[in-house]
């Protein structure tokens, strides 16, 4: 039984995200590789970047990114290379082209709309005369006195 468990451990042994043997010798190149890989999605995981993921595929992608960088690609070229093969699903930061412009502009547009609406509302408020305070009923007066007493 012990041996079986030990064998299981070997199979299921946890692997790191980025492993020591992947790290490039050139620290500048390595930094660029890390930068790129935090923006690429691990395709077989749920919402993890290849930089964080333990999956075998993520490791392959990390090595691929490094290969491209060593071959002299710029960051954009390396990313394009991966997107050409795996589709835009792999990008954690969606591009602004096409309908995605809606996604990127949703915040600023909504903020603008909110500010305009709030501005109009505030101007109307500011122009309003102070209204008559509604009088309290007998019972409410009594309750108010009760609350204020303590």
């Amino acid at each position: 039984m012990k041996r079986l468990i030990l064998a299981l451990c070997m199979i299921a042994a946890p692997v790191f995200a980025v492993q020591p043997d992947e790290v490039l010798d050139d620290p500048e190149l390595e930094a660029r590789a890390r930068d790129i890989s935090t923006g690429l999605r691990c395709l077989v995981c749920r919402n993890e970047s290849i930089d964080d993921s333990n999956a075998e595929l993520a490791r392959d992608l990390r090595l691929l990114v490094r290969e491209r960088l060593v071959a002299g690609d710029t960051n954009e070229e390396a990313v394009d290379f991966i997107v050409d093969r795996y589709g835009e699903y792999v990008l954690l930061k969606p591009r602004t082209g096409g309908a995605n412009i809606l996604l990127w502009l949703s915040g600023p547009l909504m903020m603008g709309a909110g500010l305009v609406m709030a501005g109009l509302y505030l101007r109307r408020r500011a122009g309003m005369p102070e209204p008559q305070v509604a009088r309290l009923s007998e019972a409410e007066e009594a309750r108010l006195r009760e609350i204020l007493k303590d």
């Binding site: 299921a12 492993q19 919402n47 993890e48 909110g114 408020r125």
Partner: protein
């Protein structure tokens, strides 16, 4: 037998909820006191029945009754007792039962402590709350019955996901649910006020404790979840903008907005319709959260085993409640006329700005979360929206919020002069800029994020301090007056300061983290950010239901040893899953974080180590925010309003 009683109690609770959802509502409409009053005992009975049912399920987990399907697939005899109990909500069925238990608990709270509410409003609130309970009880009974038996019980269970066997995560769901479901209470109050046709300052005051409580629970729940992710997932990430995290974050943002706009309703009788709308939408986002976690339409690291019929059912519940409430909202626009007038420069306008920023920030998170779905259905594009998008699109709103906060918090109501407040805050502002400039000068060629975070910490904490001090008036005994300030003032200052602390922590972690990945032989050293780490030994150790590889590190500073660290790598044989247990050395200004990896072919071990600046500030700030909320909640003005003091009754004649 106990299992069957549990199911029976749940069905009874459903029937009581149906009764409570209709009779008091009719009573309130017809002004029949008896029919209204029936809501309170009904709420109590409903709570007791649901609690009984929950206890029955807990019993099944504690005694490892594997004839129950949920127990067999989520528990194991070797699991420690703590996790047998927390396993009750570590699965879809049990967590829904917990959800409903909390719905009935909040209903019960109104019945028990709501003596000062007008009887018709109380009856209506309890009826609406019961409708929520009816919907979710029907959901449990029809699609996710936790009491299903297996015809052939297995010899042992399949164990709980090892990642969930952790104290941080064990208590994360109950807090989150208390928060989500607390927002059902504000929803019930909003709808009841609309039916009642009366939204006034008193309403603002009644609804505030529930909003505040929900927000506190959400803060704690989200903080716990993020803390767990930090030490358990093995690389010290604390927030991933995952759909499920967003699902908990959106109600938090809206609850924060609601908290502030309810103050305007309470103090100034303005922003009524907006506040009611927020109260409705906040619960809407809670249900979006439930839907996202349980329907499987969005892939996420945390999703429960998912099932389309459940998703459709939840979508149905959400549609009914939202469409119903919003229709009522549109029909009753006339009851929400604002009263107080105020000028452009006033506390009111600043709170409007606060609400816009929070609501738009929430909107951005929402759009980003559902965009992959929209893009696939409408434009046939399969894409992802991840952390880089949210960091870029969400952060500006928080920056805006942080900038205006200290000013808005100090402006007087109604009509204010900016100059006066600005003069009071100027020293703090200069100090904050100086701190940021110093940080900028000390760091070498990195992002502006770190200095910005420190600026906000100084600006918000300093601003809160100035605010408190300015409330003590002039002359002598200012310190004495400071200590006698209302708890709500203290709560406000502590919570706002907490936000600054969290902002600094997040910014520092993103800007100044240092990482080191290498192979280390036993006996070798590594250097990270001025600290040394020596791998002393690696041993095998057996836990109750796992096998661990345990390393011993000596953490040194200037050659002197300051601590031992024991990172582990565990295997859970039953679930066949590995986990990493990072070792942390906590400090006020930094954490040192070590993870042990695989043995390497050429000897030695893979080791990842991190220097995490201001890591604890993230959770420290969350704790401060929650604490501020608690201080506010305990203000005696709210306790008076919440009916802690009964009206003196006439002395009975002897």
């Amino acid at each position: 037998m106990i299992t069957e009683l549990g199911l029976f109690a749940l069905i009874l609770a459903f029937l009581v909820a149906c009764f409570q959802a209709t009779i008091p509502l009719i009573g309130a409409y017809k002004r029949w006191p008896g029919w209204m009053a029936v809501a309170e005992p009904a709420a109590t009975i409903q709570f007791l029945l649901t609690a009984g049912s929950f206890a029955a399920l807990t019993w099944a987990f504690v005694t490892s009754d594997f004839s129950l399907q949920v127990v067999a697939s989520n528990s194991h005899t070797d699991k420690p007792m703590l996790y047998k109990i927390t396993g009750v909500w570590g699965n879809h069925e049990g967590s829904m039962l917990l959800w409903v238990l909390i719905v009935t608990l909040f209903g019960g709270a109104v019945a028990w402590f709501g003596a000062n509410l007008p009887p018709s409003l109380r009856a209506r609130v309890l009826s609406i709350q019961a409708m929520v309970a009816v919907a979710f009880l029907a959901f449990i009974l029809l699609t996710s019955n936790p009491f299903l038996r297996l015809s052939v019980p297995p010899f042992n269970g399949q164990d709980l996901n090892p990642l969930l066997q952790d104290p941080g995560l064990a208590f994360h769901p109950p807090f989150l649910y208390l928060g989500y479901v607390g927002l059902s209470m504000t929803f019930s109050f909003a709808v009841a006020a609309l039916i009642e046709g009366r939204v006034d300052a008193a309403w603002g005051r009644w609804v505030r404790p529930y909003t505040l409580a929900a927000w506190i629970f959400l803060t704690i729940g989200i903080g716990l979840g993020s803390w767990w992710a930090y030490y358990e997932l093995g690389w010290g990430g604390f927030w991933f903008w995952d759909p499920v995290e967003n699902a908990s974050f959106m109600p938090w943002l809206i609850a924060a907005a609601l908290l502030h706009s309810a103050i305007v309703v309470e103090k100034r009788e303005s922003l009524k319709s907006w506040t009611i709308l927020l109260a409705i939408i906040a619960f809407g986002f809670s249900m979006v959260g439930a839907f996202i976690t349980r329907s499987g339409v969005l892939t996420s690291v945390h999703a429960f085993a998912t099932d389309p019929t459940r998703g459709v059912f939840l979508l149905g519940i959400m549609a009914v409640f939202m469409v119903g409430a919003l229709t009522l909202f549109a029909a009753r626009a006339n009851v929400m006329q604002a009263k107080g007038a105020f000028s452009m420069v006033s506390r009111e306008s600043m709170l409007v700005l606060n609400n816009i920023l929070l609501a738009v920030a929430c909107f951005v998170v929402f759009v980003g979360t559902i965009w992959p779905l929209v893009a696939e259905m409408a434009f046939d594009r399969k894409l992802s929206v991840g952390e880089p998008f949210f960091n870029a699109a969400f952060t500006p709103f928080m920056v805006g919020l942080g900038l205006i906060l200290p000013v808005g918090a100090m402006l007087p109501w109604k009509r204010a002069a900016l100059g006066r407040v600005w003069r009071q805050l100027l020293p703090v502002f200069i100090l904050a800029v100086a701190i940021a400039a110093l940080a900028w000068a000390l760091q070498t060629g990195r992002s502006a994020l770190g200095p910005l975070g420190l600026f906000f910490a100084a600006w918000l904490i300093g601003g809160a301090t100035v605010d408190l001090w300015s409330r003590t008036g002039r002359g002598q005994d200012r310190l004495g007056r400071l200590s006698r300030l209302p708890r709500a003032d203290w709560g406000k200052a502590v919570a706002h300061g907490g936000l600054g602390v969290t902002m600094a922590g997040v910014a520092a972690m993103m800007a100044w983290e240092v990482e080191d990945i290498r192979v280390l032989q036993v006996g070798e050293d590594l250097k990270i950010a001025g600290y040394g780490l020596r791998l002393e030994e690696v041993l095998r150790e057996d836990g109750p239901n796992y096998i661990a590889t345990r390393a011993t590190f000596a953490l040194t500073r200037d050659g002197r040893e300051i601590a031992k660290m024991y990172p582990e790598k565990r295997i859970y044989p039953v679930a066949q899953m590995p986990t990493t247990e990072a070792a942390l050395n906590n400090g006020f200004l930094r954490d040192i974080y070590v993870v042990i990896g695989d043995p390497q072919e050429g000897g030695g071990w893979a080791v990842r180590s991190y220097y995490k600046p201001l890591a604890n500030w993230i959770w420290g700030g969350s704790i401060l925010m929650a604490l501020g909320g608690c201080l506010s909640l305990s203000d005696r003005r709210y306790r008076v309003a919440a009916g802690a003091r009964k009206l003196p009754q006439g002395v009975p004649a002897e």
